[in-house]
């Protein structure tokens, strides 16, 4: 059964590592939805978050093949355990009239998004959330006319399992 998986990969933070990972993914014919990369608390280590789809066998191969790379330190499939997932979206929407602008701002409020730039005819908004939330937001803005859009791809982090108190469910489920 094809399922969406979020795979978190800790890698050496040096020359050529991203090329190695993307070359592996392309060369083995794996499909990925997104890949994001950035430094961690340890400047010698980067974290890559890969969102991919596949059945159990394919996901097992992806994690094993990633583990084979010398520059890969740790591979974790986040999907199976509680985790927080976030993606950032920047979107520029056409707002030819004040009427449209206020309608867009209403949507922005509901999604707890933030206006980051505004002009006479456009408005640029940032929003974070999991994939479903971002997708829903884009769907709501679509009819207004999206001029430009940039998504970061997901980043994720495992939850601490110290009790329900730490799970800010109202926040994560907002909108």
């Amino acid at each position: 059964m094809n399922r969406r998986h979020i795979i978190s990969v800790l890698v050496e933070n040096h020359f050529g590592v991203l090329a190695r990972i993307s070359s592996l993914i392309a060369g083995r014919g794996f499909n990925i939805d997104s890949l994001s990369v950035g430094e961690t608390e340890d400047p010698t280590i980067s974290r890559m978050t890969i969102v991919t789809r596949g059945d159990e066998r394919i996901i097992e191969q992806i994690t094993k093949q990633l583990n084979r790379l010398i520059d890969v330190i740790k591979v974790t499939d986040m999907t199976e355990s509680p985790h927080v997932e976030r993606e950032l979206l920047l979107v520029k929407v056409a707002t030819p009239t004040a009427q449209v602008r206020s309608e867009v701002v209403q949507v922005v409020d509901v999604f707890r998004a933030k206006v980051v730039d505004i002009s006479a005819t456009t408005i640029t908004v940032e929003v974070t959330g999991d994939q479903d939330k971002i997708d829903a937001f884009v769907e709501m803005l679509g009819p207004f006319g999206i001029k430009e859009m940039a998504r970061t791809g997901a980043v994720a982090m495992g939850r601490e399992r110290t009790g329900r108190a730490n799970r800010v469910t109202s926040e994560t489920r907002a909108a």
Binding site: L24, R68, I73
Partner: protein, 587 residues
């Protein structure tokens, strides 16, 4: 006065010999080239294959200074240099070394690198690179060696500073030779060879992202032992991993305790004696009928260091329908890649077999053993003898008889590779050098050179075809230059035989580009280079030519003009199940 030498001596000394270390370099400022060559010496490199060029001049100058410690063999094409290092590594079990220049020097190594990587051969390939400040400027003989080789190496490095040279050389050899072995490419910009840094030798290697699992988990080994104890019809499927792990003795101990029939893949011929009663032959497309039927009939496959390659399994959905599968491999990604596995064990073949032998319940031969023994009488390799033509199988059989199975055999790729695998019985590992995974024509001759350099006293024979020998025939110069007594037996049918066979069987005999037409006189070519050249035109001439050629004290080409439209049988056509084998019509 400086003396010049045209041929460097071939050095033999133990890899652990520390008396030649230049201790005076420690803690001192040295050039990158000095550090580089000293690091090779400390890694135990005593022989390498090197083709010089502009950006590696400084390194070759340092190699000249240390020529009594490292022999540099110069092939006549960089591809052959990599294959030679591959053959050397396969025959010795050590990590092979190659150095080439930038640009075309680096690109010429690609086929050799891919060949070695596919067969898990440990190599370190050093490529020269233009100076750091020129990288990316399309400089003369600049190419992105790291980028080009990325999908076909185990790992690669670009050295950015002379201070990193020793550490990276050390890591490169460690990575190439441990876990599932493979190729490491190290790209060295010219400025790194000339600039200076303080030399410090790292005694130990630790790489946080690289910790091969050698010790198989005791529970998984116990489950494997239990599965073998419960099986009625167990079957050992042995791959190249057993050769790489030097685990033949442990395998023999397991078989002595359990009497399980054994098949060895093309890569593993010799890991288990080819003359042993429980040996059922090589499996797969051109394997024995017995080995393939055993897959279809067994109830437990115990795979050790094999990878369920498509040439072995045939049509995957029809493969081994009655069997549970146990899979021992040092590379976790090999397990469950192609088939569903019931008993996985991640670990080194030698380690796992040692542990398994401690707990395995002795098993007595049963009905399954009797069935196998009975079938072995009829389901073995055979061909119709002929005296009117030279049958290539006959040549291989004679080579086997005359060398008493003691030779090191390399092969090119195609029909003669399969005949060599079918008719030469290997009783010991590391005697059979072939390109199994990539299937590289032109591999055998340089690989034989590598093996001959490793074992100067051994009889080394390349079983070649008239097509593939021409892919690296220029290495005749190398064998003559170093007086390496490599023998080449050319099974000359005037065709690219294996492709022609497929055209005959599946493409209505449309011999598109496979008829080579003008075949050169190989004996004369050999003579022109200064080697011995012999030709056998009739069946009767086969044995005399072999006798003369094999006894000749130097390099020799033996050209056998064989039956042109000979086919390799039995054969499982691509996409068919293992029990749908075709055989020669008369059989």
């Amino acid at each position: 006065m400086a003396t010049t030498t045209t041929v460097q001596p071939i050095i033999t000394r133990p890899a652990s010999d520390r008396s030649i270390w230049r201790r005076d370099m420690e803690g001192k400022e040295c050039t990158g080239a000095e550090i580089f060559v000293e690091s090779l010496v400390r890694e135990g490199v005593d022989l390498m294959f090197g083709y010089p060029g502009g950006v590696v001049l400084k390194i070759f100058d340092e190699l000249y200074a240390r020529r009594n410690q490292i022999s540099v063999i110069t092939p006549r094409h960089e591809q052959a240099g990599v294959h030679a290092a591959d053959g050397w590594a396969k025959a010795t079990g050590r990590v092979g070394t190659v150095i080439v220049t930038s640009g075309p020097g680096a690109t010429n190594t690609i086929t050799g690198i891919a060949t070695a990587q596919m067969d898990s051969v440990p190599l370190v390939v050093f490529t020269g690179q233009v100076s750091r400040e020129l990288i990316g400027s399309d400089a003369f003989q600049e190419t992105d060696a790291i980028g080009i080789t990325r999908p076909i190496v185990k790992h690669s490095y670009l050295i950015e500073s002379p201070a990193d040279v020793a550490k990276i050389v050390r890591q490169a050899y460690y990575i190439a030779g441990t876990g599932r072995p493979g190729v490491v490419v190290v790209d060295i910009p010219k400025n790194v060879t000339t600039e200076k840094a303080v030399f410090e030798w790292p005694e130990t290697v630790s790489i946080r992202g690289y910790k091969p699992t050698v010790e198989g988990h005791p529970k998984s080994i116990q489950r494997l032992a239990d599965a073998i104890a419960q099986a009625e019809r167990p079957y050992l499927y042995v791959g190249g991993g057993v050769v790489l792990a030097n685990a033949s003795e442990e395998l023999m101990e397991l078989v002595n305790k359990t009497h399980i029939p054994v098949t060895t893949t093309l890569m593993a011929l010799g890991a288990f004696p080819g003359t042993h009663p429980l040996f059922v032959g090589m499996p797969g497309m051109h394997g024995s009928k017995l080995a393939n039927i055993a897959f279809q009939e067994c109830d437990l496959i115990v795979s050790i260091g094999a990878r369920f390659d498509d040439r072995v399994t045939g049509k995957l959905s029809a493969f081994a329908p009655k069997a549970k599968i146990a899979h021992v491999d040092v590379d976790p990604s090999s397990i469950k890649k192609n088939v569903k596995v019931d008993y996985p064990v991640v670990g080194d073949a030698k380690w796992v077999l040692q542990e398994l032998n401690k707990i395995i319940k002795p098993r007595q031969p049963n009905e399954w053993n009797r069935t196998i023994a009975e079938m072995k009488k009829t389901h073995w390799f055979k061909y119709k003898p002929s005296t009117s033509v030279i049958r290539p199988q006959y040549v291989v059989e004679k080579i086997y008889e005359m060398t008493k199975g003691e030779a090191i055999i390399s092969s090119e790729v195609g029909q003669m590779q399969m005949w060599a695998a079918q008719y030469y019985k290997f009783d010991r590992p590391r005697r059979w050098l072939t390109s199994g995974g990539l299937g590289t024509m032109g591999y055998g001759f340089p690989a034989a050179i590598g093996a001959q350099l490793a074992f100067p006293e051994a009889l080394v024979i390349d079983i070649a075809g008239d097509g593939s020998i021409q892919m690296n025939i220029q290495e005749l110069t190398t064998v003559v230059q170093h007086n390496l007594p490599v023998k080449v037996a050319i099974l000359n049918n005037g065709f690219l035989g294996m492709v022609r066979q497929w055209q005959e069987l599946f493409y209505q005999r449309h011999y598109s580009s496979t008829c080579l037409g003008n075949i050169p006189n190989f004996a004369k070519i050999a003579e022109a280079y200064g080697a011995k050249g012999l030709t056998a035109r009739t069946h009767e001439e086969v044995v005399p030519v072999l006798e003369e050629g094999l006894a000749y004290p130097g390099p020799a080409f033996m050209d056998f003009l064989t039956n042109p439209e000979e086919n390799v049988f039995p054969m499982v056509p691509a996409g068919k199940a293992l029990d749908e084998m075709q055989d020669e019509e008369w059989a």
